[in-house]
Symmetry: C2
Subunit: 380 residues, 2 copies
């Protein structure tokens, strides 16, 4: 099996990730608490250390501003619904995943307005359109760092600057970039950063992260036991407790720590360069096949390691099915939970066949994919 | 280390639980989707099979009514906030965990009333008090199956009957009983059942469950990608998708399946009888130590395998610290995220030292605990 579905979840994970989860569960599988017995303290320390590691990784000063969630979708819901109130306006783009679009659309019923900036057919946003959409009641710009369909990298530095200059909150969805591209919350003026643990950060499924800038008041979604201020019936205000009720995914967090450690040891540049090299090679080879339509910028410097294609007018699901069944190549077809993106690039009916590359892919994987695509094209 | 903190999380887990997580992550670590390549389908099938297994375990007809959450706290928040609306009234008890009390208290600000039924000093609720609290706007009875502090088992069958007769929703928090006590949602008239995966069900931390009775409309808390109806910007209404946006904790669910399988193979009766035997033995031995105060029913037939004590007027945290440091015995002191419970049993200032027994504990563990407690008493 050649795995080219890394935008859905990276596979495999570094061996240390699996081992760390086992070590935690077998060695100190307690419920992490702020106080308690040795095993509970060790589990608590692991979580704190992971928070510190994440903070350093994204240039965040205070690790207590790192919130663990179930996945990036929960992080985005918390950020969007915790900040926007009736009468507010939020700006987003047509290249977003449903994890941004659906929460934003759901807020319409409580009177939160939105503007969805139309991107061009390569998924590129015009920065002037964002500026032009700012109104007196605009409170937030919420957008992805890179499209999960075309890989298109958004001009986040400019958007961050605009947000700062205009006094808006900048929420970045880094689902397709964290662990591969440098993300410095200060340099990019990020107020809220939503991250999955299981994609570029190489951790297991089951952990998401939300960074909340200090002094930014985000309403929590859940109350419950926090191990702190247990005598009170109101949710404590202190972070991260306010947002982390109930037992956390301790083995998942143990795995995530090792994923990030792997990235740090390997080097972000090394990972990105490897992915860029394979992406560019894949695009260049695809261009040679006449019947193949490639979406997005077609330039590895302008897109994350995600390449969406179609073969003529063939149904994307059908092509993906053949790739899986006949060639043992795992990709993802369809709409990728991003309907506006597909409308933007003109594939709302057909969907696309998405190939997404990870650090553990090799040139041989790409060669096999190209050979398979050529083979399919010949059969048509 | 003698682990007597199983009410916080069971430890260890059956070996199969760890192995299943590894097998999933290494063998088919894809993002489970309704469509897709072989690995994604295998991951999706695992999740569906686990849903079916859970449904059978609790006598639930339709496995699609089983929602996976991050933990029981999220399940309780979803159930409480998804059902109760302004003008409604909810009944609960003074023996609840903050995961019920805090969400209920938070709803006061949107006009949801509550009545917290005062239990007696053993944590026992008077069923007549519940009946008497029902008003014309009462919509739900939300309560625990067994106290996490005293183990006191609640009269859930009677409460379920009252709820049904009065047309109220019955939300049961089975955090301390699932996997040890029989829970039949039909027999108990349960409309909403909140469960942690990592306690009696012997799965890993990071998975919770909410069962929602068919035709009961519960408002979802999060929107996002569901892999279904991706073309729509509104959250799909179909279950379980409506409540499960984003990537699930697939390895956690793989582990949970094996935890439940272990219970089914071992037999619920066998597990309960073992825990009851150890609990009664522990209580009987504790009764012989004059200075020890035991809370709760002091009868293993009337309480789950949770025993809270104090030694004279000694601070509970101090005793727990000595148990850990000197005797290598892991217990949990303090308020256990249940302030009203401690007010009810008269330990709001002192807290209690909580010993909680799991299936993997032995008579020797109890003997060691008793010896340690006697030793501490002698040193005072």
């Amino acid at each position: 099996m050649i795995y080219l579905d890394n935008a859905a979840t990276t596979y495999p994970k570094p061996e240390e990730v699996y081992n760390a989860m086992m070590d935690q569960m077998k060695g100190f599988g307690a419920n992490p608490g702020r106080s308690g017995h040795k095993m509970a303290i060790e589990a608590g320390r692991l979580i704190f250390n992971t928070r510190e590691m994440i903070a350093r990784f994204f240039n965040i000063d205070n690790p207590m501003q790192i919130i663990f969630t179930a996945n990036a979708t929960e992080s985005l819901n918390l950020a969007i619904k915790g900040v926007l109130k009736s009468g507010d306006h939020v700006i987003t783009t047509s290249m977003e995943h449903n994890s941004i679009l659906r929460p934003i659309k759901s807020l319409e019923k409580i009177g939160v307005e939105n503007t969805i900036i139309q991107c061009n057919s390569e998924g590129i946003v015009n920065i002037e359109d964002i500026k032009g959409a700012i109104k007196s009641n605009t409170k937030m710009i919420a957008m992805t760092h890179a499209s999960n369909v075309t890989g298109t990298i958004m001009p986040v530095e400019e958007v961050g600057r605009i947000a700062k200059e205009s006094g808006l909150y900048f929420l970045l969805d880094a689902a397709q970039t964290a662990g591969v591209y440098e993300i410095d919350v200060k340099k990019l003026n990020i107020d809220l950063l939503a991250l999955p643990g299981h994609k570029g950060l190489l951790g297991p499924q089951g952990v998401g992260i939300l960074y909340i800038r200090e002094d930014l008041d985000v309403m929590h979604m859940k109350e419950g036991g926090t191990g702190s201020k247990s005598e009170e019936l109101i949710q404590p205000e202190m972070l991260p407790d306010r947002y982390e009720s109930g037992t956390p995914n301790t083995p998942g967090i143990a795995g995530l720590a090792k994923g990030i450690e792997f990235i740090q040891k390997t080097g972000l540049d090394q990972i990105r360069q490897h992915e860029e090299m394979l992406t560019q090679y894949f695009i260049d080879e695809l261009k040679k096949i006449e019947i193949v339509k490639i979406y997005g910028p077609k330039d590895a410097k302008k897109q994350a390691a995600v390449v969406s294609i179609n073969i003529g007018e063939e149904d994307s699901s059908e092509i993906a099915y053949i790739l899986d069944k006949v060639f043992e190549i795992a990709v993802r077809p369809g709409l990728h939970c991003a309907p506006y993106t597909h409308k933007t690039i003109g594939t709302f009916e057909q969907g696309t066949v998405r190939f997404s590359i990870g650090y553990f892919n090799t040139k041989n994987d790409i060669d096999e994919a190209i050979a398979a695509i050529k083979n399919i094209c010949q059969q048509l």
